[in-house]
């Protein structure tokens, strides 16, 4: 049953991610990215991470993608990406990256064929709910949480300063 939900979601997410890369217009890429994030929210729900699934929809598919759309429409970008292809100078770099990613994939498969990861742990009913994750966030991880708020404040100030006036 879980397989029947996981594979369509994963397939749709991967195809939409490919469309993000190979779409001609930036606005089409943004729409495909929203679809991919909704698919990933479905995967999170399948993994019983309800709080993160809600955050994925609100923060990513909502706030961040609206920001992308806003900037694309503000800059009035045409399809000026017509001549894109692999940069000749970067062929070595690209091959090295591909080899690295293949190595990572191999290592992941190697590690996780361990029997320990074959089936999920039996989790309590309230696993991944807002209550449990929030309790962990405000007790064990309260310092990182506060640092994250300072980071967001700094990013806000930085964005305002950068976009405010002309750069000399």
């Amino acid at each position: 049953m879980e397989l029947l939900i996981f594979y369509p979601l994963a397939l749709v997410s991967v195809i939409l991610a490919l469309f993000v890369v190979f779409n001609k217009s930036p606005i089409g890429s943004a729409v495909c990215l929203i679809g991919m994030m909704l698919g990933l929210a479905g995967v999170f729900i399948l993994l019983q991470a309800h709080f993160l699934a809600i955050l994925q929809i609100i923060v990513y598919a909502g706030a961040i993608m609206v920001l992308f759309m806003f900037v694309i429409m503000l800059l009035n970008l045409k399809d000026d990406d017509t001549k894109w292809k692999i940069r000749e100078r970067n062929i070595f770099l690209s091959s090295a990256t591909g080899v690295l990613i293949l190595g990572i994939l191999y290592k992941i498969i190697d590690v996780t064929t361990d029997t320990k990861f074959d089936s999920p742990a039996t989790v309590p009913d309230n696993f991944g709910t807002v209550e449990v994750v929030g309790t962990t966030l405000f007790t064990d991880f309260v310092l990182p949480f506060e640092v994250a708020s300072i980071l967001l404040l700094a990013a806000m100030v930085g964005a305002v300063v950068l976009a405010k006036s002309k750069v000399d």
């Binding site: 997410s13 990933l40 000026d80 894109w84 980071l151 990013a155």
Partner: protein, 100 residues
């Protein structure tokens, strides 16, 4: 039940697509979107490990990843706007002021 390996392979495939996009696209905004794909792929593997090890630390970490992604996108798009004011392009190959 889905084995953990499938989630990890799914995450690795998404990450590779993101890297591919960063390497072959020249539009700065599309490159940002591909960075978002990579961050999301990492979130998938964090949450999958969480579920299979019955812990909450990975979800907290992926929450922090979302915070950093929001900060990164706001600052990055502000930089793109500032660059567009200066050079009237978002083509990354033409923005080589600091290259050498």
């Amino acid at each position: 039940m889905v084995p953990l390996t499938h989630y990890l392979i799914f995450s690795a495939v998404l990450f590779s697509i993101g890297v591919l996009g960063v390497l072959i696209r020249r539009n700065a905004i599309v490159v940002f979107m591909c960075v978002e794909i990579m961050l999301n792929a990492v979130n998938v593997s964090l949450i999958a490990f969480d579920r299979y090890l019955n812990q909450h630390d990975g979800q907290i970490f992926s929450f922090m990843v979302m915070c950093v992604a929001a900060a990164e996108v706001s600052v990055g798009l502000a930089i793109v706007i500032a660059l567009f004011r200066n050079k009237a392009t978002v083509n990354l190959d033409e923005i080589n002021l600091m290259k050498w």
